[in-house]
């Protein structure tokens, strides 16, 4: 008790302020509640938005620096050839390229159901995928890799046999054949933006496809800007008047998605900020009432030697105290709500990002600032009253 007394004694303005806050408990509690709501609104909305973006980006996969080259409408023949792949490789310099072959097949189930699957021919699967179970053979000439989703659906595991009814276009005609592969590895599921997404597909060595036909070439660059430049170079190499290749730049899409998320989040946080504005008004109201009720008391303080500035300090300390208490109550509440959102969207309540903490911190800062700003006018009004008038009652 003595220690506590001494502590408060070190901050006399806060001693007076604290006692005044406890004088009208309900009123102070309501003012604090308004700050809590504001802080929670900014913190939880902002941090929740970050979690939502994380969740969406997780589904979309890594986005940004890849470009995809397809055969264009004026291409003759109507697909990319090995020579085209070489040209892309030459034009793009040091950037990694991933030529992809593609085909369709049908899996016959035990109970007679038939499922269409996509078949990918990939030169170096290690570069594209993460293995979940089994191994990609060192000599990638036979065997098949299946995605986790397909493996779970079909009960496949490494070593199992996989029979595919393939239909390939050879020399302009559709040729069907029944092929059996041994599953070498199960691949982890990937996000939607993954090149040759493995989830429900079968990945085969390129030798299992027609030699000279490529579905697309993926060029992996360092960043969005480089991707832009590379796309321009590839266009220059292939397209003069005719559109021999189409290029899909992921960077543009990534930027647009990023921007959209940022705008939506800003809008939501703006709504949260309005609630803090209301909180600031409520603080101003509470302080104004308090200052009017304590008019004589403030007059006494002025009479016994308190400067205008001292009165301003005492009342601002009171507003600050309300804001700090409200913010300190609001911050854990905002974090708890964010944890709930994290749990729902990211399957991990503790998946807080720096951005999420940033929003909660911003909420706390705004909460305190709103209180101080709300307290300014009442404090100034009380401080400038003449003591003689105040004491007259």
């Amino acid at each position: 008790m003595r220690l506590l007394d001494r502590l408060w004694g070190a901050f006399p303005t806060f001693l007076i302020a604290r006692r005044n806050i406890t004088r009208a408990r309900t009123r102070s509690a309501l003012a604090v509640a308004s700050i809590v709501i504001g802080v929670v609104a900014i913190g939880a909305i902002g941090a929740g938005g970050v979690a939502f973006k994380e969740a969406q980006m997780g589904t979309l996969g890594t986005i940004g620096s890849d470009i995809q080259v397809y055969a264009g409408p004026d291409k003759e023949p109507g697909h990319l050839t090995a020579a085209d792949v070489d040209t892309v490789d030459r034009v793009t310099g040091t950037a990694d390229i991933v030529p992809l072959k593609r085909g369709d097949g049908v899996l016959a189930g035990r109970d007679g159901d038939r499922t269409g699957v996509t078949l990918y021919g990939v030169d170096d699967p290690r570069e594209l995928y993460t293995v979940d179970e089994g191994d990609i053979p060192g000599n990638w000439r036979n065997g098949a890799l299946v995605g986790r989703t397909l493996a779970d659906e079909r009960g496949l595991e490494p070593g199992a046999k996989l029979t595919v009814n393939r239909s390939d276009v050879r020399d302009g005609e559709v040729v069907t054949s029944l092929e059996t592969y041994r599953v070498a590895a199960v691949l982890e599921d990937e996000g939607r933006a993954q090149v040759a997404r493995p989830n429900g597909a079968v990945v085969l060595p390129p030798g299992e496809f027609e030699d000279d036909i490529y579905a697309q070439v993926v060029v992996r660059t360092e960043n969005t800007r480089q991707a832009n430049a590379t796309a321009r170079d590839v266009r220059a190499a292939f397209n003069d008047r005719e559109e021999r290749v189409d290029i899909f730049e992921r960077g543009q899409a990534a930027d647009r998605i990023d921007q959209a998320f940022a705008q939506v989040n800003l809008f939501l946080v703006g709504i949260g900020a309005i609630s803090l504005l209301v909180a600031g008004v409520s603080i101003a109201n509470v302080m104004l009432m308090s200052a009017i009720e304590r008019r004589e008391e403030i007059g006494v303080l002025r009479a016994v030697g308190y400067e205008k500035f001292d009165i301003l300090r005492v009342l601002l300390a009171e507003a600050t105290l309300l804001g700090v208490v409200g913010s300190l109550l609001g911050a854990p509440l905002a974090l708890a709500i964010t944890a709930l959102i994290n749990g729902a969207l990211l399957d991990d309540p503790l998946a807080f990002t720096a951005g999420a903490f940033g929003y909660v911190a911003a909420g706390v800062a705004f909460g305190v600032v709103a209180s101080v700003v709300g307290g300014l006018y009442p404090a100034w009004k009380a401080a400038r009253e003449r003591p003689v008038e105040a004491l007259r009652g």
Binding site: G9, A10, P12, A303, V304, G305, Y306, E307, K308, L391
Partner: protein, 257 residues
């Protein structure tokens, strides 16, 4: 005591030099605490000018107990406010320990008020959220000397016979106890002038006696005490009684009629 900053000195050169001549330490100790000459105070109320003080003279010496009596509306409170530097006269000279108060800035007046003047307000004006000892500490609360302030406050309350009421809140104290807390508060800064507005109003005779005895002790320490009162008993007790009628001062009530 130092010379006042020139910014606050009025363009009346003689007054400024007067102030510096009398501005010495010995003057503070032996000379009058506060002197007024031709003090006029006018108010604007509803477009009408009210003359609350019509050129009054006053002089309070250290250790003197002066009672101001007079009917309500005679300017007693205004005079007390002028004495306590809460109000500045419209015209006339007021010198606090030899210094012309019109040379003070607002901030300076507040500082001098804190150093020199102790107030005992009419209805006590204790802060309800603070304990007795905290109420006594108020004038020095912002001085950042909590230990020394607490000691002084406890001593003063002890002297007022309230050593066992330190941590009581005002609503837990009787009227007489509150008044004694208010007196302790007025003494915490070791003032040279104590101003009391109706200090025994609403108190029974016994409590009133106790308060008067306290005032006597304060005057023995060299503090000038000025009290505004309706109570003849207090007036009889005083060294000197000043009658205020319609803003004019009379030493003898007969003169007023």
């Amino acid at each position: 005591m130092t010379a006042e900053p020139s910014a606050g000195v009025p363009d009346d050169g003689t007054r400024a030099s007067d102030a510096s001549e009398t501005d010495g330490a010995s003057e503070t100790d032996d000379g009058p605490v506060i002197v007024g000459e031709g003090v006029v105070k006018e108010y604007e109320t509803g477009g009408e000018t009210v003359r609350a003080l019509r050129g009054v003279e006053f002089r309070i010496d250290p250790g003197e107990f002066v009672a101001i009596v007079g009917p309500s509306g005679s300017g007693k409170s205004t005079l007390l406010n002028v004495l306590g530097l809460l109000d500045v006269p419209t015209r006339g000279d007021v010198r606090l320990q030899g210094t012309d108060v019109s040379t003070f800035s607002d901030t300076e007046r507040t500082r001098r008020r804190k150093e020199v003047v102790g107030f005992v307000f009419q209805s006590f004006h204790l802060v309800p959220t603070l304990t007795a000892v905290e109420n006594v500490e108020i004038p020095r609360l912002l001085d950042r000397t909590p230990a020394a302030t607490r000691e002084t406050a406890c001593d003063l309350l002890d002297r007022m016979g309230l050593a066992d009421r330190l941590d009581h809140y005002p609503d837990e104290l009787s009227g007489g106890q509150k008044q004694r807390v208010a007196i302790a508060r007025s003494l915490v800064n070791d003032p040279d002038l104590l101003l009391a507005d109706e200090p025994t109003g609403n108190l029974d005779r016994e409590t009133g006696d106790r308060i008067l005895a306290e005032f006597e002790r304060i005057t023995d320490e060299g503090v000038g005490v000025v009290t505004v009162t309706h109570d003849d008993y207090v007036a009889e007790f005083a060294d000197r009684t000043v009658h205020l009628v319609d803003g004019d001062v009379f030493a003898d009530p007969a003169e007023a009629r």
